[in-house]
């Protein structure tokens, strides 16, 4: 239920495939979140590094939380370059009830932004510049810097 792609995401294909896969599970609400690369700051693309082992354990923790509420999460993310106006990230919650789905998609996407082990770079000309100002230290960061 966590898909990593080495290209930009095919939004219609993913939204349709996930919907079709879950049709038989009697969910009442399906809420995808589609993240699209905005044209800004003169970039031609964004580029992503993903640390897959920790991303998978982070995702599994969320899937367990969702399951306890009868819900299910699906997620896809790109590795490498994703052009302006293309999609790098899709997450979706399926749930019997709308309230649970609305709350999960919000909490999941916010925690994803804050703690998922993925690094973003602006592609400017042929340079790849770490998006330091938009990045957030993972919860519990900094212990190695505290011993001085």
């Amino acid at each position: 239920m966590l898909e990593l792609a080495s290209t930009e995401l095919d939004v219609p294909e993913i939204l349709t495939r996930w919907y079709t896969l879950e049709l038989q599970n009697n969910f009442g609400a399906y809420i995808p979140f589609v993240g699209i690369v905005r044209e800004e700051g003169g970039i031609s693309a964004l580029s992503f590094d993903v640390y897959e082992p920790l991303l998978r354990s982070w995702f599994d923790t969320w899937q367990t939380r969702a399951k306890e509420k009868g819900a299910k999460i699906r997620m896809a993310h790109s590795k490498g370059d994703v052009r302006v106006h293309a999609s790098s990230f899709i997450a979706a919650v399926f749930s019997p009830k709308r309230r649970v789905a609305l709350e999960f998609i919000d909490e999941f996407v916010e925690d994803f932004k804050a703690n998922a082990p993925i690094w973003k770079y602006d592609v400017l000309g042929n340079k790849r510049v770490y998006a330091k100002d938009r990045s957030t230290p993972i919860k519990g960061s900094g212990i190695l810097g505290k011993s001085r």
């Binding site: 992503f48 590094d49 920790l54 994803f112 690094w119 230290p137 519990g140 190695l144 810097g145």
Partner: protein
């Protein structure tokens, strides 16, 4: 020996280091010019589990990962 990897934008290749705890590793890395500025903003995983204490013991073969600030999506 433990194996230390620097993820994402940290400009350093993986290295093998002799250290018995994260505290000891911290002492070593804080003398490394390429890495020291990243220490106060990076999370630490030992064998792909995030850890929160400098007193975490390390044993030969352990893999320590430094995770700088993230921004997915």
């Amino acid at each position: 020996m433990i194996y230390v990897e620097f993820l994402g934008p940290i400009p350093k290749e993986s290295v093998e280091i002799e250290a018995a705890s994260l505290r000891e590793l911290s002492d070593i890395l804080s003398r490394d010019e390429d890495v020291k500025e990243w220490l106060s903003s990076s999370a630490v995983a030992v064998n792909d589990t995030l850890v929160s204490s400098l007193d975490t013991k390390l044993k030969s073969g352990d893999r320590v990962s430094l995770l700088p600030p993230v921004c997915g999506g």
